[in-house]
């Protein structure tokens, strides 16, 4: 397995070789990491949009984008340029500051969690010892942006959308948190790098018995709801609220919400990958050394992205199959089914860890 530490340390050493002060090196490295992450963020979003269009077209017996570039690969690039050139239409009688601030909060929260993801071996910008906790904390900031957008637009549809969003996020945050907590109990650590390293021999979803499987399913459902897509897209609910909380946004401000939506989908899938599916660890089966050795030759970022895209595919599958839930059904699902199940599951997991029933 190629360790990306080799690359990052080489950059660090060559910078220090220029006789810069420590502080200067740090600043340059921070800027480099920032640029790399922003570029990855934008490119991933563009790929995801293309991926969703193709998958959705496949489900709907259509072709999807196929005119710009081979397989329509350049379509999303063209669309991105278009949305950048669009006019930002100013709205009268709204709260200007909050209105302009809201999309930044949304994109900031998704950027913050994106930055802490372990993309490959040695390919992690910052490795907190409370990684999982940090992820949950920053990703739930996004709802603030949504609420502000709904409030500051001075539009009744936006307001209803934002209120729905508030209720939904607060509820499903619980299930996301509790299902991750189940795995934290199992792993005994909140540090993402440690969690990934523990899965070198076998992924947690196989190691952790039934509770890990239950936690994975609950996490997928709740995480999908967190992204406000698919059957859980009540805050936008195109056919009810026209576009929900971002009705009044245009141009790149709308683009920010769009971008954040896709990246949130990726972040949810990436956390699922890290916590349940072994992160960047290749597929290892105890006992099959030849097979394990071959798997090691596939680069770790490929493993990570592959697993994340598999989770995204699951979420797209759900999105393009089910009709939208109603607000009461949505809350029933969380408070009457997922939350009790989750609490029992934690207890179950704790027992398994205490009595060492796991593999």
């Amino acid at each position: 397995m190629f360790d990306f530490k080799v690359l990052t340390q080489w950059i660090d050493q060559s910078l220090r070789a220029l006789n810069l002060p420590d502080f200067g090196v740090l600043v340059i490295e921070l800027v480099l990491v920032g640029i790399a992450l922003l570029a990855a963020y934008a490119i991933l979003a563009i790929i995801l949009i293309w991926f969703e269009r193709k998958i959705c077209a496949w489900f709907q017996c259509r072709l999807g984008p196929n005119r710009v570039g081979i397989f329509g690969l350049l379509q999303t690039f063209a669309d991105t340029i278009k949305i950048l050139l669009k006019e930002l239409i100013p709205i009268n009688n709204n709260d200007k500051i909050l209105f302009y601030l809201a999309p930044f909060i949304v994109i900031l929260s998704s950027m913050l969690s994106f930055g802490a993801l372990p993309f490959g071996k040695g390919l992690q910008a910052i490795d907190f010892n409370i990684g999982i906790f940090y992820m949950m904390a920053v990703s739930s900031l996004g709802v603030l942006g949504v609420l502000l957008a709904g409030w500051s637009s001075n539009n009744k549809f936006s307001m209803i959308g934002a209120m729905r969003s508030g209720a939904q996020m607060v509820s499903y945050e619980l299930s996301v948190g509790l299902s991750l907590l189940t795995m934290v109990i199992f792993a005994g650590s909140m540090q993402l790098s440690q969690i990934v390293n523990q899965q070198a021999d076998l992924w947690f979803i196989f190691k952790g018995h039934v509770p890990a499987l239950i936690a994975f399913l609950v996490y997928l459902i709740a995480g999908h709801a967190e992204t406000s897509r698919g059957p859980f897209d009540l805050p936008e609910a195109e056919s009810e609220l026209t576009a929900g909380y971002h009705t009044e946004y245009s141009g790149i401000q709308f683009g920010f919400y769009y971008l954040a939506e896709y990246l949130n989908m990726f972040i949810i899938a990436a956390i699922a990958t890290t916590v349940f599916l072994g992160g960047w660890q290749p597929l290892h089966i105890p006992g099959l050394d030849g097979f394990n050795h071959v798997m090691d030759y596939i680069p770790t970022p490929v493993w990570f992205l592959g697993k994340a895209f598999f989770c995204i595919f699951l979420s797209l599958w759900v999105r393009w199959t089910f009709p939208r839930l109603r607000i009461d059904q949505l809350l029933h699902l969380e408070w009457k089914y997922l939350l009790p199940l989750n609490l029992l599951n934690i207890l179950f997991m704790a027992l398994i860890v205490i009595f060492k029933w796991h593999f």
Partner: protein
């Protein structure tokens, strides 16, 4: 006639005519008495159509009444008031709820005030509109009503006229929405109203407290336009009413005219018209199903439905040369003979559609989310359906047996076997299922006809200018959304004196407030999808 004697006993000066349907003429002050006798004692509980007419020296209203057991055994009531300055008639909204919007329409277009009507706002036109378009002395010059570029506020004042105990008429005003109510505009530009329909919805959180439909965004005055057109010319306007049942609407007008001038159409034409009607019905129900699924958030189902509808549209294109507005029926027949591929394509389509219907049920009907969102939501009882004049799939979902094809078979419907799809629940799910089951029933009808199209001329020879003999004619057919009726009042001219289209859409819109109260916003959208109204059909 027994009924005639009963009426004469109660109202000795009522006039009787034996036209196409038995017709009773009464003085305005006796109308309500007669109407309530017919409604409450004789079982005429279904007001098929209410038409305001300007008779020249008087303004009047024509009521077509029927019994819900047999929607086409009709009796016609007529009344008129000579006072053209302040015409006042009695409202019948207390007997038939469907009169509410219809009387507002008559008020808006003819200026007839209805006493005891709860809400005298002008339907289709705004309050500032000068003149009453359907009156014969209406000045249609553009200077009279210049195009306004200012946005005009809606009138929220519900005006009602009623008698005091002393016998004077007093006017009362009531505000539609209270100051503290949270009113949201759903429409006129909204993805789920299927056109420029405008609901003002008063919300309490997610719950709906009141819905006020605001109609007329695409009111084109088709009925007024018909008064200055010859009969073959006005055929083209019917396709623009409910554009999803273009064939069926046109069929109604053609057969009304054919009956009036006694043109015999060949059996081949009857078969072609029946088959086209059924194909049109399938296409319309498919679109209705697709749009409803999309309204509930299942976009994939929408694409599936549109894909299969395309096959029918292709069949239309072969024969009619057009895909949406077909202009196919003409007086005395159809425009062109069938395309040589027609039978082959229809025969391919029938088994394909039957197979694909199972897929539809798999993708949407059995889904737990869809079931939860449709069952026991938006319940319309049978009595309400009859009173509000809700026909078609929506009426039959409430158990109102109102299929014109069954009760008074026209074209080739008398020669074939088919079932009227009826359900009892009256909720959104029942309306949804009736629509899907009717597709299967239509396929059965097509199967029985497609191999037996008789030879014969596809068009009867008609004169270039058709004059309908003096009299009144009413013809109804079963359009995709319900009973579509054409009322022609002719004075022997080459164009009608008054023409009225009884649209199924208006009654569908009138029940939205009734059945979506205390449901949630998402349910309003689902209910709208299940009613499947088409806006040009409502506004005319």
């Amino acid at each position: 006639m027994e009924l005639k004697e009963k009426i004469l006993k109660r109202l000795p000066d009522a006039g009787f005519e034996d036209a196409q349907y038995p017709t009773v003429t009464v003085e305005p002050d006796k109308l309500h008495e007669l109407a309530s006798m017919l409604c409450r004692e004789e079982g005429y509980d279904f007001l098929v159509s209410l038409t305001g007419v300007d008779w020249g020296d008087s303004l009047g209203v024509v009521y077509h009444l029927a019994r819900s057991g047999n929607p086409l055994d009709m009796i016609v009531l007529k009344t008129a008031t000579a006072d053209k300055e302040h015409p006042q008639l009695f409202s019948v909204t207390d007997l038939w709820e469907t009169a509410n919007l219809n009387e507002r329409e008559a008020y808006g277009l003819l200026g007839i005030n209805f006493i005891n009507h709860p809400d005298m706002r002008r339907l289709f036109l705004n309050e500032k509109w000068k003149g009453f378009p359907l009156r014969k002395d209406y000045d249609a010059s553009p200077e009279n009503n210049p195009l306004s570029i200012e946005s005009e506020p809606f009138s929220d004042k519900l005006r009602s006229l009623s008698f005091t105990t002393q016998g004077d008429i007093i006017e009362k005003e009531k505000e539609l929405f209270g100051k503290e109510e949270y009113v949201v505009n759903i429409g006129p530009q909204h993805p789920s109203t299927h056109g420029v329909l405008h609901f003002r919805v008063s919300l309490d959180g997610e719950l709906i407290r009141k819905v006020d439909p605001n109609l007329g965004y695409i009111h084109r005055g088709i009925e007024k336009m018909c008064e200055s057109m010859t009969y073959p010319q006005m055929l083209h306007l019917t396709d623009r009413l409910d554009y999803l049942s273009a064939h069926i609407n046109r069929h109604a007008l053609c057969s009304c005219i054919e009956k009036a001038v006694e043109i015999e159409v060949s059996e081949r034409v009857e078969y072609i018209r029946t088959m086209m009607d059924e194909l049109q019905r399938i296409a319309s129900h498919l679109l209705g199903w697709s749009a409803m699924c999309m309204d509930m958030g299942a976009l994939t189902a929408f694409i599936y439905g549109m894909r299969d509808r395309e096959k029918i549209i292709d069949i239309f294109q072969d024969t009619c040369g057009a895909r949406l507005i077909m202009n196919y029926n003409v007086i005395g027949g159809v425009m062109y003979d069938l395309h040589p591929d027609f039978q082959k394509k229809v025969k391919e389509f029938i088994p394909y559609m039957r197979k694909i219907m199972k897929e539809y049920h798999q993708i949407f009907t059995g889904n737990v989310i869809a079931d939860e969102r449709m069952k026991s939501i938006g319940i319309l009882s049978k009595e309400q359906a009859v009173s509000y004049g809700v026909t078609g799939p929506s009426g039959r979902a409430s158990g109102f047996s109102c299929d014109v094809r069954k009760h008074r078979p026209y074209a080739a419907y008398g020669k074939i076997k088919f079932n009227e799809v009826l359900r009892e629940e009256g909720d959104t799910f029942a309306r949804y299922m009736v629509r899907l089951d009717e597709i299967l029933e239509s396929l059965n009808i097509l199967e029985q006809l497609v191999d037996h199209i008789p030879e014969g001329p596809y068009q009867a020879k008609t004169k270039p200018i058709i004059r309908i003999p003096e009299g009144e004619y009413f013809q109804s057919v079963e359009a995709a959304r319900g009973l579509f009726g054409v009322y022609i009042c002719s004075k022997g001219d080459k164009s009608p004196y008054r023409l009225k289209f009884r649209s199924p859409g208006l009654s569908l819109v009138s029940i939205v407030d009734l059945i979506s109260r205390n449901e949630k916003i998402a349910d309003l959208i689902a209910i709208g999808g299940s009613l499947d109204y088409v806006v040009p059909d409502i506004d005319r």
